[in-house]
C-alpha cells in the first residue's frame, strides 16, 4: 500500500526535512521523491509505503498538516490516481 504526499507552497528551507522526519516517525518508508519549483511555488510529490505504519493514515495526515509551515499538504492513497488516470 502506497500513499502520495503532495506539498505545494512558497519555497523555503527545511520542507523536505520536515516531511521526511514525520514520515520516519510514522514508519512510512519513502520510496520516491520528485520536486520542482513552478513559478514561485515549490511543488513536491513523495510516494511512501504505508503498509507498516505504526499509526493510522489519518494521524500521519494530521501530523503533517499540523506542521505544514503554511504550505498545502495532501496525503492521498495511491489508488485514486491510478484509477483516475489509468485504464
Amino acid at each position: 500500500m502506497r500513499a502520495v504526499i503532495s506539498v505545494i507552497g512558497e519555497d523555503r528551507v527545511g520542507i523536505l526535512a520536515m516531511v521526511s522526519t514525520i514520515c520516519a516517525k510514522a514508519n512510512a518508508n519513502v520510496i520516491e521523491v520528485t520536486q520542482s519549483v513552478l513559478q514561485e511555488f515549490f511543488v513536491m510529490m513523495m510516494v511512501v509505503d504505508i503498509s507498516n505504519l505504526n499509526c493510522e493514515l489519518t494521524d500521519l495526515r494530521k501530523d503533517l498538516e499540523g506542521n505544514s509551515m503554511g504550505m498545502k499538504i495532501q496525503v492521498m492513497h495511491e489508488d485514486i490516481f491510478n484509477s483516475m488516470h489509468r485504464i
Binding site: V47, M76, H77, I80, H85
Partner: protein, 452 residues
Amino acid sequence: MPNFNDIIETITMIQEENLDIRTITMGISLLDCCDEDVDRSCEKVYKKIYNCANNLVKTGNDIQQKYGIPIINKRVSVTPIAMLAGASGGDPVKYALTLDRVAKDVGVNFIGGYSALVHKGFSPGDEELLKSIPKALSATEYVCASVNIGSTKSGINMDGVRTMGKVIRETAELTADRQCIGAAKLVVFCNAPEDNPFMAGAFHGPGEPNCVINVGVSGPGVVRAALAKADKDLDLTQIADIIKKTAFKITRMGQLVGSEASHRLGVPFGIVDLSLAPTPAVGDSVAHILEEIGLESCGAFGTTAALALLNDAVKKGGVMASSNVGGLSGAFIPVTEDEGMVAAVRSGNLTVEKLEAMTAVCSVGLDMIVIPGDTSSEVIAGIIADEAAIGMVNSKTTAVRIIPAIGKKEGEELEFGGLLGGGPVMKINQSSPAGMISRGGRIPAPLQSLKN
C-alpha cells in the same frame, strides 16, 4: 509512481474545481418489514435501517480520509413506503416519523423513499400515501418523497397528476413558515429509475436487492475548468471529447469509492450515477459549462443543443469508466442550486419554457424552480403532465420539483440554504388547464412502448 501532472490535476480538481463524491446512498429493501399492524411495521423498519446503515456515515468518513476526496452526503433510500402502508393500513405519516428518527440516529443527511409508484393506477396504500405527503414532509426534517405518475410502458396516470398538483401546493403551504421547503423535498417522476442515489428522488425499487450501495459523483466545476483551459478554436466534436475524457476520470473515482464502500460495509455495489449536479458554490455550475461552450447566457438559443452535447458526452465518458453506470447519469439543471442558472433567470435570459425544452435532452426535468405562490393546483398539474409527456415519449426520466412560494410574487425570492440554494420566483403562464386536468383517466402508453 503516478505521473506528476496527473497528481497535480487530481488535486486541482478537488481543491479548486469542487470535485467531490456527492453521495454514497445505501438502498435498503423494507419488504421484509411488512406487517398487518402499522406500529409493529414501523418498529421493524427502524430496526432494519438502523442495522444496515449504522456504519454508513463512519465508513464514508474513513474513505474520505483515505483518498482525500470529499464525500459530501451519506444517504439512505428505501422501498416505496406505499407498499408497506398498503400491507399495514393505518396512518402513513407514522412511517415518515420513523424514517426521520432513524435517519437522525444513523446520522445520514437525507432518507428517500416516502414514495409511491402509481404510473398505471393506485393500489392499496398509494392514495393514502399521496394524501399524507404534505403532513409527512412538514413534520419531518430528513425525509424525501417521490411519486412516479407515468412511464413509457404504461402511459400517464392523470388522476395521479391531478392529485400531485394539489399535494405540491399543500406541501408548500404547510411549510410556508420555512421557505416552503417541503416542496423542495418532493419529486414527481415519469420513468423513475429504481437505483438513483440523488435526492430528493431516491427510492429503493422493488426489483433491487436486499441492500446495495449506490454512488453519485459530481463535478460541473471540473468540466467547466477543462473547457476553459482548452483552445478557443476547438470545434464541437473536440469539445465533446474533452467532456467525455473528464467524465471518464470523475466516474473512475466514483467507481473506486463505491467499490471500497461496498467492500467495507459488506454490501453489494449497485451503480455509479455520474451526474453533473451543480451546487450553489461559486464555480460549480452547469449553466457556466454551457456558457463556456460559447453562449452569452444560459437560456440563449443554442442552450438546448449545448446541453444535449454535454449530457451525451457525460454518459459516454461514464459508460467507459464503470461497468455499472445507472441512476440518472447526465446533467442536472436545478435552478436554485446553480448560481449560473439563477443569474440567467435574474437577467431574464432563462424562462420556464426554455427550461422545459432543456429537459427533453438532459437527465432530469424541471428542477428546483420557484413559482408564484398563487399558482393553482391545476396549473401545477399541467406542468407535471407536460413534463411527464416529454419523458414518456422520449423513453427517458423526467421529473418535476417546483416550489410554490406561498405569499410571494414574481421577482421575490426564496432562500433554502445549503445545497438547495435559493432563487427568484419565476414567471409562469397562468392560463388554466383545469378542464383537461379534471377529466382524469390515463394517457395511453405511446407506440414507443410496443417493443416486444
